[in-house]
Symmetry: C2
Subunit: 284 residues, 2 copies
């Protein structure tokens, strides 16, 4: 079964069919880490094309300069279902809507809820509203760019939020990531009400990895508030003041090393390569 036909057509330059029809369009847009530099051209393009902007207040603020004169609906953090339904309803009325979020809406983001609701409403890909997920630079991309090269090898991505997933399942995943020697990226590591998870995670990892395994804590990547610490697994909990909803934690695997405060993962087995070629050595 082949899907995504309209997207294929779009990228082949014959998108007019879609532009001409009277159906609404819903863009689920990731604007990246928060600094415009790291937004994609497509994200800017669809926001500019949209008549209506829907989103969590903080995310809408990230694109304030792009949305002047548009209908803007700002929501508090907890009302995801309302936001998603409103965005869909506007598109169903024939409007062009961007549902904006930071990072990548495809990674723990709003596109899931959109498709879940559309499936409940028996939406059909070829007959219903046009839906496009615009991917963006997610925390795993932005944070790893700032701290060295931790994701040169296999990695696992785990959210510590147990609001929608039972803690037993998260523990099972943490255990599997530690066992599989995965570099591990932790989204939503902690909040004021939720701090035990990171302690449990540290204890699980200490069963499999050395206490001096490099760990990075990145708060507000690429924002004015950016703060970065590269520490060790053993000292992970010494930086509790940095934890919160815009913080990401990256735990190294057995090969990760710290070089001058950068967290580096070798891409493979160094012995296979002469990293600095002989010719260069003789020149230097």
């Amino acid at each position: 079964m082949t899907l995504g036909l309209e997207i294929i057509l779009y990228y082949s330059g014959i998108s007019n069919v879609y532009m001409q029809n009277t159906k609404g369009r819903l863009y689920v847009v990731g604007v990246g880490p928060g600094h415009h530099d790291h937004m994609t051209f497509r994200a800017k393009q669809v926001i500019e094309e949209s008549e209506i902007i829907v989103g969590y207040d903080t995310y809408v603020s990230l694109v304030e300069d792009l949305i002047e004169g548009k209908e803007v609906y700002r929501y508090p953090m907890t009302q995801e279902v309302d936001r998603a339904n409103q965005a869909i309803e506007f598109a169903e009325k024939g409007r062009i809507v961007s549902l904006v979020s930071s990072g990548d809406p495809g990674i723990y983001g709003m596109v899931g809820l959109i498709y879940e609701i559309l499936a409940d409403r028996k939406w059909k890909h070829d007959e219903g509203i046009y839906v496009e997920c615009v991917p963006g630079v997610s925390s795993l991309n932005s944070c790893s760019a700032l701290i060295g090269s931790p994701l040169m090898t296999d990695f696992a991505v785990v959210s510590m939020s147990d609001l929608l997933v039972p803690w037993e399942i998260i523990v099972k995943r943490v255990e599997a990531a530690a066992l599989g020697d995965y570099v591990t990226v932790i989204y939503n590591p902690a909040s004021k009400k939720r701090i035990h998870q990171l302690k449990d995670t540290k204890d699980i990892f200490l069963k499999y990895r050395k206490p001096d395994t490099p760990v990075a804590i990145v708060k507000g990547a690429f924002r004015d508030s950016q703060k970065i610490v590269v520490t060790t697994l053993e000292k992970l909990l010494d930086y509790n003041d940095m934890l919160g909803m815009i913080t990401t934690v990256i735990i190294g695997n057995s090969s990760t090393f710290n070089y001058n405060g950068l967290m580096i993962n070798p891409r493979g087995y160094k012995s296979k390569y002469e990293l600095v070629p002989e010719t260069t050595k003789s020149i230097n």
Copy 2:
């Protein structure tokens, strides 16, 4: 220990110190999946700023329109170490260099080799050349955007390439991902010489997941050659003709479902929410 000081300064708008010095600059740039729409503004900016462009021939071709008049060094696929050394050497001579790649250089990309070589050369963050990794939309971001919402939950990312990592380690990771009920993104699933890995992976997953678990195969995401199939774990090997170096495979977890050819992962436990609010139901 706090690191990335110059990056913090840069984003606070006081980057002049770095612009004024005579040291070279090395940008390791991800241009996204290959279509300019999904490149970030920062990627375009640093390529335009650069005097020299270094990269694998195919990647350089992706930005052909941005590099007219620059010194361009195109490499065949296998010469990563040469490419990395050349880019570093130009920067050490005071030049401004972009080492370009598709996707995100921080995910199985060139930035790892750059830092490994710099560490070998005793490079110092505050005294040596300026190095910046420009994150981009990687295959995991682009492919998931095209096939629904598979990454709404915890996921593992595994490369099947055993050129630099022994197959026993990869098998251990595949086993851990299957055990942990991770949605699993597979980079480099197969090449002409390397086809048994995906078969072994399928067999391991079948020990933990149902044969009808949704699986997506995405070739050339957002390129003219784009081809997408959403199938099942059982039928994963029926599409061998699609496998190759620009193909990514995503295997669902126990909650993933296929809705009209889209691979959807619920964000949590549906019972917690009324997805279509009562007020909307009565209007419809």
